[in-house]
């Protein structure tokens, strides 16, 4: 009897093993992508999250896109020209259809841009605030008139602000458009089960069918890092995005997996509270020498090595090396504890200087805080780490309830998107309330300067003023987007914005 039971149990085990195991989606070209978070609403006007943009890459084509060199390339547009510094003429691709069969034309572009700019609750409004009017010149030509010249405007149209929606579907759905988005991308929306999956399938009437080889894509939010890596290792998904540096070594010997590392557009840095409420009224907040001493006590490369196995790129500026506006000769200063101590003596402050570092409560960022704590102690700082849950830390930052704040930024293609809002005295994300008229002047000038060399020179000057002279904030490193995918997947082209472009992807 007992023997029979054991045999039966083994049979069930074999059945489970053969019948229920993770089955590769072989027959059809079905790509499964593990996402780090569950996206928010799938409406390009109302969406806010980075992860949502990854899903939009298959659903909603944009007027323009960026390539690996961060150059603006045509997508739904075929080209553009500046009629004068405030008038942009965009020509559109012919024969493009939305998922509902409607024609994508100049009227649809006018509708979409106006919706992004003025729809109640739009998160694109601040990006498009410079638009004075948008007009359809003819069915395939759009004229956009800006209030002032803008060097960054074209890059705005390479992201959600440049996504064109079906006017008929958007009008019919109103605020619920994101529940069933209808755009002109290579895949059309099939279903979404919150926190479980988003499914899209190939759109038969896509304007560029020759580059689309997949039939279906399922996006699976798997926030736990260990679970995400297990999924890609077991073959339950073919692609996992935003993995951690320690995963790289973990899968290095697995010949069925490939690791792709792409430098990001953003940065990790420390915001200083200089003028936001009483917490700024400390020697640290009021004296640039103290902040210089703090920065000189920190060895970015060593932290990067200890916490991230050296995967990231130490930096002293907001713009990553791959960006044409990166200032090559503006590099991090070498750690110099003796000089840091001397600066504190010159500043006449009592040591140890007490400083609090607010850190979002992630294991790696806490570890970064601890290494910084040990480093600056040698120079005469007593750093207290205040680990906070993310939502609470955002509130504390906005209200000035911090002294220093370790925070990252996902980054934008144009340098303005990485600097202006954080550094300009009227910048909406300038939580430390840094204010210097000279820095403002340089930022305003860089915003409208259309010549690339002159613009780079303005940012170089800004770095000297805001970072070397005023020590307004500190940049630590540019992270890397780490992707792990099955070797069955071919044709993936990594772009620094971290999006997974579906054009050219194929499963062998």
């Amino acid at each position: 009897m007992r023997r029979h039971f054991v045999a039966a149990a083994m049979a069930v085990g074999v059945a489970l093993g053969t019948g229920l195991a993770a089955q590769p989606a072989a027959a059809q070209q079905h790509l499964r992508i593990a996402l780090r978070e569950d996206p928010d609403i799938l409406d390009p006007t109302l969406a806010r999250t980075y992860v949502g943009r990854i899903v939009f890459a298959s659903l909603c084509d944009k007027l323009f896109d960026i390539n690996e060199q961060l150059e603006v390339v045509p997508m739904l547009a075929t080209g553009y020209r500046w009629e004068n510094p405030t008038t942009l003429i965009i020509t559109l691709r012919e024969g493009v259809r939305f998922h509902d069969g409607e024609r994508m034309d100049a009227e649809a572009v006018v509708y979409s841009l106006n919706r992004h700019a003025s729809f109640q609750g739009s998160f694109r409004r601040s990006e498009l605030t410079g638009i004075e009017k948008v007009e359809a010149v003819d069915p395939l030509t759009v004229r956009i008139t800006l209030r002032a010249p803008s060097a960054a405007f074209l890059s705005v149209l390479t992201d959600r602000s440049g996504m064109i929606l079906s006017p008929r579907a958007a009008e019919a759905a109103g605020r619920d458009f994101g529940l069933r988005p209808v755009c002109a991308g290579p895949f059309r929306f099939v279903e979404r089960v919150a926190q479980s999956r988003i499914v899209v399938e190939r759109f038969a009437d896509y304007w560029n069918p020759s580059v689309i080889h997949l039939d279906r894509i399922t996006y699976l939010p798997i926030p736990d890092n260990n679970a995400r890596i297990a999924n890609v290792q077991s073959g339950a998904v073919e692609f996992a995005e935003r993995m951690e540096p320690d995963h790289v070594e973990m899968v290095a010997r697995n010949n069925r997996l490939r690791v792709v590392q792409v430098p990001e557009l953003g940065y990790q840095g420390i915001t200083y509270n200089l003028n936001n409420g009483p917490r700024a009224q400390t020697p640290f907040g009021q004296n640039p020498r103290v902040r210089e001493a703090f920065e000189l006590a920190i060895d970015r490369a060593a932290i990067n090595q200890v916490v991230y196995s050296g995967a990231y790129t130490p930096t002293a500026q907001a713009v990553p090396p791959a960006n044409p506006f990166h200032v090559r000769d503006f590099q991090p200063e070498a750690r110099n504890v003796a000089r840091a101590r001397q600066l504190l003596r010159e500043a006449g402050v009592q040591t140890p200087v007490r400083v609090e570092l607010t850190v979002p409560n992630n294991p790696d960022l806490r570890q970064v805080g601890e290494v910084i704590q040990a480093m600056v102690r040698e120079a005469g700082f007593e750093l207290r780490i205040n680990a906070m849950e993310f939502a609470s830390s955002l509130q504390a930052s906005t209200r000035g309830e911090f002294e220093t704040f370790l925070l990252g930024w996902s980054g934008r293609v144009d340098p303005d998107g990485n600097i202006y809002t954080f550094v300009h005295s009227r910048g909406p994300a300038n939580d430390g309330r840094y204010s210097n008229p000279e820095a403002d002047r340089l930022l305003d000038a860089a915003r409208v300067e259309l010549d690339a060399d002159r613009r780079r020179a303005l940012y170089a000057e800004l770095n000297q003023v805001s970072l070397r002279q005023d020590r307004a904030r500190m940049y630590l490193w540019h992270r890397k987007n780490i992707f792990i995918h099955s070797t069955r997947l071919q044709g993936y082209v990594p772009v620094p914005d971290g999006m997974i472009r579906v054009q050219g992807l194929r499963l062998n």
């Binding site: 993770a22 601040s126 919150a194 798997i222 260990n226 679970a227 339950a236 609470s392 955002l394």
Partner: protein
């Protein structure tokens, strides 16, 4: 019996109302402004923040906000998720069967392991079988869910490739795949409860075995199997049923970590994500629904008492 039941059901309404005030009030104590979270990268723009607050009525007074919420809830409208704009009732109805399936499977596993082990342990008190059962219970109670979960994923998914490492397939869509996706999380979830059930069954059985009626039954010459199963176990099961229903409720609301590790889109994951995103309508809706489940389960426990123990029916 009928009047008793009516009285018990009558008590549920004020309980839920008091709970709703507590849920709403406690949530307000959470630090972190929902408007800031919802604004995302536009959080520095006061215009955007004001717009969000007005749209979600966050600029009204707390009593006004509570009144607006509770009057809608009474009419069956739980509002919509601020993050993904899906109605909360739809989310609850979508997630409840998932967590219920997971909880039910975990509970069955727990009962199948915990109760027999508890009986064995009591009958073979201070013998090797008792020690082994106690060791197993200790393992079940003290093993952290996330750790056991990761070990199981590594073994059964990555190494052996037998089971999918995460995700969920509804029973109605594909029963085999549904079983495959939930068996590991159910086992992980069930082990802790199995340990608790085993300890309680053992204690209750030991108590029952020392009662006079058991001695009388033995003195009558009944076989030991009949004494244990028919006389001792039936009495010992009363506290175990109470505990079982409470534990089942706990399974439904406490599957948070397990759902996170196995990416099961259930109740626990829903509420945790909602808390982190300050998605108040979802938090309120889910916690209230969970409270209702608990209240109903405790009512069920009372009814089960009566079924098991006839003396309570006459009391």
């Amino acid at each position: 019996m009928g009047i008793w039941l009516l009285r018990r059901v009558g008590q549920i309404i004020p309980t839920l109302l008091i709970l709703s005030v507590m849920i709403f009030g406690l949530q307000q104590l959470m630090p972190g402004d929902p408007a800031l979270i919802l604004a995302g990268e536009e959080r520095g723009d006061e215009q955007v923040l004001a717009q969000i607050r007005a749209e979600l009525r966050l600029d009204r007074s707390l009593p006004e906000q509570y009144w607006a919420w509770i009057t809608r809830v009474i009419q069956g409208d739980f509002g919509f998720s601020w993050r993904i704009r899906v109605p909360v009732s739809e989310l609850i109805l979508e997630k409840l069967p998932v967590t219920f399936q997971l909880g039910a499977m975990a509970f069955i596993i727990a009962v199948l392991i915990g109760v027999p082990l508890g009986i064995l342990s009591a009958v073979r008190k201070d013998q090797p079988a008792d020690w082994a059962a106690n060791g197993a219970a200790l393992f079940g109670i003290s093993m952290p869910n996330f750790w056991l979960g990761i070990l199981m994923i590594l073994l059964f998914s990555v190494q052996l490739g037998w089971l999918p490492p995460s995700g969920y397939v509804p029973l109605t869509e594909d029963p085999w795949q549904s079983l495959a996706t939930t068996i590991m999380p159910a086992f992980v979830l069930g082990t802790g409860v199995a340990g608790v059930l085993m300890r309680h069954t053992r204690a209750a059985m030991l108590g029952a075995m020392s009662q006079d009626y058991v001695r009388t039954a033995r003195a009558k010459g009944l076989r030991e199997r009949v004494v244990v199963w028919k006389h001792a176990l039936r009495n010992a099961l009363i506290p175990v049923v109470t505990l079982g229903t409470i534990e089942f409720g706990r399974l439904l609301s406490g599957a948070v970590l397990t759902e996170q590790i196995f990416s099961i889109p259930g109740f626990g994951k829903l509420v945790v994500d909602a808390v982190f995103n300050r998605d108040y309508p979802v938090v309120q809706g889910v916690v209230l629904a969970t409270a209702l489940i608990f209240v109903l389960l405790s009512l069920l426990a009372d009814i089960l008492y009566m079924a098991i123990n006839p003396r309570l029916r006459r009391a």
